[in-house]
Symmetry: D3
Subunit: 250 residues, 6 copies
């Protein structure tokens, strides 16, 4: 693993042409209840990416870009979010992909830390893969492998923050009475969106009083391992045309 | 159920203000192998929507819009698709939602028949629900309830077409040797897109030689029932503020 | 004549490359007074197109696309229209033309059923003809040949609907006192638009009490014949570079 | 008549609020054969507007804006045109209309000198009239009243230039053999556009050898009178809500 | 110097291919206090450009375009400006540059008369120079060479108008008490913008009571000479690849 | 000073409503010769911002946003830059400003580390200040106060990197023979852009062999002090309407 921001352009070009996978974390700045900081998603996706890359021995075929600290959070603008519109985030991702391909990369992976970015990110890789001879991948760190979405500002994220940035975690309030659609999704597979739901629900989808650093460390370990495995699988599925050595767990 | 295209504007306005749910089917015009027609997705989503609405007794609280016959199929442009760009489809859906809300509707459901429309549709309802005091829903007909995605131009779609439009179904070719990413997804939860994959795979994700009208009728029945159930659930979750009578299966 | 939606992609491709003319009807969903349905424009343009194609013996050089059921009707949003913005309709038409040309077509005809689409449609064919080696045509069904614009939701459209969809025609109200600009255009050749004029005029440009199915049948016959003649003329003017047999009335 | 460019902002504001009509000429910079200058359309529309305003006694209720010297001429880019895209011209017209309305005007007239601007201009006034409580008008100077389109760089425009800017008129070449669609329109009411037609036709739609200054003076007189009459009619149809004195010919 | 608007397209094409520099003046229509007209910026940039070109002997390698009479003046919309949005002005400049390059020009100079256009103009030349093999230049007439920005509607502009269009200059009011940010810029190099500042400052940045035609003539002479020198320098720096004779002062 | 990314949303909201200044650093990822890393601009603007904020005692009225790590570097795409288009960067800045204002901030300062962002940033604050009742400021860190632009990847930036990130600085090559426009600007105040100039110049505007950590430390000290002074001046000029205590150097 190498950080693009610390490499010279000759090193970046050589990596891209040599078959490296560029890895772009994307996060958000948005409310995470009264006890977690605005940058929670950006911090957590960074922690999972760094954990995964460490498991892969910081393979030189992996070039990590700086995390995009802003995401698409219009549903949190009622609570001080710094949000990009869907159109803007689409443009940012398209520009970054286009730059990387002009630079010589043929493989890019976007790793997402914020639910609101998910469709936009997947759409971005679908769009761009039609424009150039590349292989692109995208995932949200919490839903790789067997894992499922685990809520916003609740036990899952609080535990991860306790494991990674305990100094930034306040005392979680009592378990909220989560209103309406967040309490029970009307039907599996059906997306339902109701105006004002996040404000009505107080900005979180569940309580965090049972969060612990131990749970967080285990969750982080599990996600980092899954991401490492996903990277290996992506490399394996797309490597042959590049002739590079396989990326492997150490 | 009533069709907006056959109603006067006074009837449409009264329905919207009375708490009706507007239902918009969206499809595509794209290749479905050598044995299925271009309009397969549009025909099938229409069949599922009509089946669901029939199960609900053609409740007057349901207003069906004409299906959008074109979708986002850039990956099928190599094979004569008539495709809208992602940006255009976003604009169409935003305009239709905006019109319906100006018209008086506060509840809209989009039902999708084509994989390429999925993220765009879900993004559209998320976006619009932030702009106005509405409750919006979206689903792809094949993945409601316990069902999963079932491929393109293979046994599933061919069976459905045999059940609904047998005169338009040709002799399916031998089971294709599906190449690369379609044969095995690299990792659960990881979206991977590779340039040219659809052309290399010959445009389908699996064989259709075992398709039958019976299988299709069963699949149609199952999906229409699931959609009817999803509509009831959506109505139930969002009805109270409208004071309308519940939508129910007959 | 063949319907694209019912053809396989191999058939579509062969038709396009063989010199076929793709025919795209475009309509609207908008108020047509208290006695005609929202889809009037879409139904009528479809009837005229089908009539014209029948007169041409359903020539295999004619490929009919599904009608676009939504048009540009911002002036009817006060009355429950489902409208695309000008920008969106421009994008839809550009995308459809671009798809058809990528598919192999070199000749496309757009036939319009709604006044608000007229400039946008003509602009679309002008724009696209500059981008690719194609011959494109566009017309509004009511103004071909010697015919002139004949109002909105008045005697002309009501008669046509009586001839084609009598079950959808209600009792027209008394002849409206049409106000302001609709009663008398200020000057020939001068477009004048005044805010709120459609609402003030009650949504129609004239009375319909003298509409009859007979008048409608005659008008439909005349328009379908004119469109058939226009198609023959378009074919004749643009055929030579394709080497296809002439399209002829039967 | 007063020129906005020579007025102070207090005078402009007072005029707008007092019910004045803002008049915006729009032209082009594009080829007009080997004998006429690039700015022909801009010069001629300016001459017609000035002639019309003189006939109206330079009524203070008429505020003339500077002519937009660039238009939409993509079909002349093969021959050194300076052209705005359709999208850009739409934006320019929307911005100018929006500024004038913010400034206090409630009536605006656009007068066009170039065929390629026609649909865009009419669309612009239709769009903007929906946004604000205004009355907007638009015309192309050559097609007001009983007049019809009279070709490009042929006898009509050459005569007008001989009457207004004789020093800029060269010797017209022999009558061109106009090819294809320009020689005979395939069908009345049918717009047909074929790629490359302007280049094939040598950039003009007819010969100019019989042009004379006398014909030009007569044509100018006729168009200026028609425009003056159209302005009077527009004023009459839209004046009452402003309470201003009628605009009249002197 | 030649004016594009008065040239035939053959002359324009020959000039562009022969290495000529196209010169585009851009201005505005906006308030200039109670004593100067709306078109002040357009008139002054035109005067400076004409003065510079005269000093260069009206070299045939210089082709002057008609001035764009509208600019980006959103901060003056409170006072009857006719303004293009930043996006629209970007589009206009991009279109003009693109047209000129398609026409054969490889060198273009934009000369600006209005502060609000400055960043947009410089951005436009930077953007376009990346797209095609051209050399582009841009300047604001008042800040060439050693000169600095000299305020809005104050002594500088009033003197220039007295020298060039005395009949359009009214009696300047008493020196305004300029408020807030205009009285003293907070820090060198720091752009500070506060909502409503132009309205609070009464639309001008300083008094004009000491303006004279003599000062204006001297300022005009100085700016025209500086622009002529800048053109010679631009020609010298970019000429070699064109093989044209040097542009020189006469 | 506080970091938004580490604050809860309640703290962010309280700061904004209490009159705090939000500070957004923006950088780039682009070539900086063979001896400096891609993220040089982002690292240096961060160092200057942190230095300035430290001089201000980390005043709680200053809320630092995470740096935007990507900028507008199309002129460096030939050398592996990761660049946003001008349109995208405009959108990002507009979205961030809009979010901050929705959040409660009325004062924002953007500090820039990359030349290519300069016009876009200044334009962004001008645009947004027209939309809401705010006071916005923008500067590029190298050109505050008496300082001037000091080149790309030359002695200035290399010295700063030696002072702040010595482990990332390679051996600078010999002083390049800087070609063309970079060696001598044609005329003061004239922006000149020539296609391909950055590639011809080898990507740098001057040699770095005389760079030292001492020079860098002095330059950093000077810029951080200037930025601190600019912040104090901005606060002073815009504070009164907020009633907050003055920001002061410690």
């Amino acid at each position: 693993m190498r950080e693009l921001t610390r490499m010279t352009w000759h090193e970046v070009r050589a990596a891209g042409r040599g078959g490296a996978v560029a890895v772009l974390p994307i996060g958000s700045q948005e409310q995470h209840g009264a006890h977690l900081p605005m940058g929670t998603d950006t911090m957590l996706v960074s922690a999972v990416v760094d954990g995964a890359l460490a498991r892969l021995g910081d393979d030189p075929l992996l070039v990590r870009l700086p995390a995009l600290p802003f995401g698409h959070s219009p549903h949190h603008l009622f609570a001080a979010a710094v949000s990009l519109t869907a159109h803007t985030l689409q443009a940012v991702l398209a520009d970054v992909l286009d730059s990387l391909v002009q630079s010589g990369f043929r493989r890019v992976l976007i790793v997402n830390g914020h639910g609101g970015n998910d469709e936009i990110m997947r759409l971005a890789v679908k769009q761009y893969a039609l424009r150039a001879d590349v292989a692109l991948a995208a995932c949200s760190y919490w839903s790789l492998g067997e894992f499922q979405n685990v809520g916003h500002a609740g036990e899952f994220e609080t535990s991860l923050m306790l494991a990674t940035h305990p100094e930034l975690v306040g005392e979680p309030g009592p378990r909220p009475e989560v209103a309406g659609l967040f309490a029970q999704r009307p039907y599996p597979g059906l997306t339902v969106e109701r105006h004002g739901e996040w404000a009505r629900a107080g900005g979180s989808t569940g309580g965090a009083t049972e969060a612990t650093a131990e749970k967080g460390a285990a969750a982080l370990e599990a996600r980092a391992s899954a991401l490492a495995a996903a990277i290996v699988a992506f490399d394996e599925a797309t490597r042959e045309s590049h002739g590079s050595a396989p990326i492997q767990a150490v």
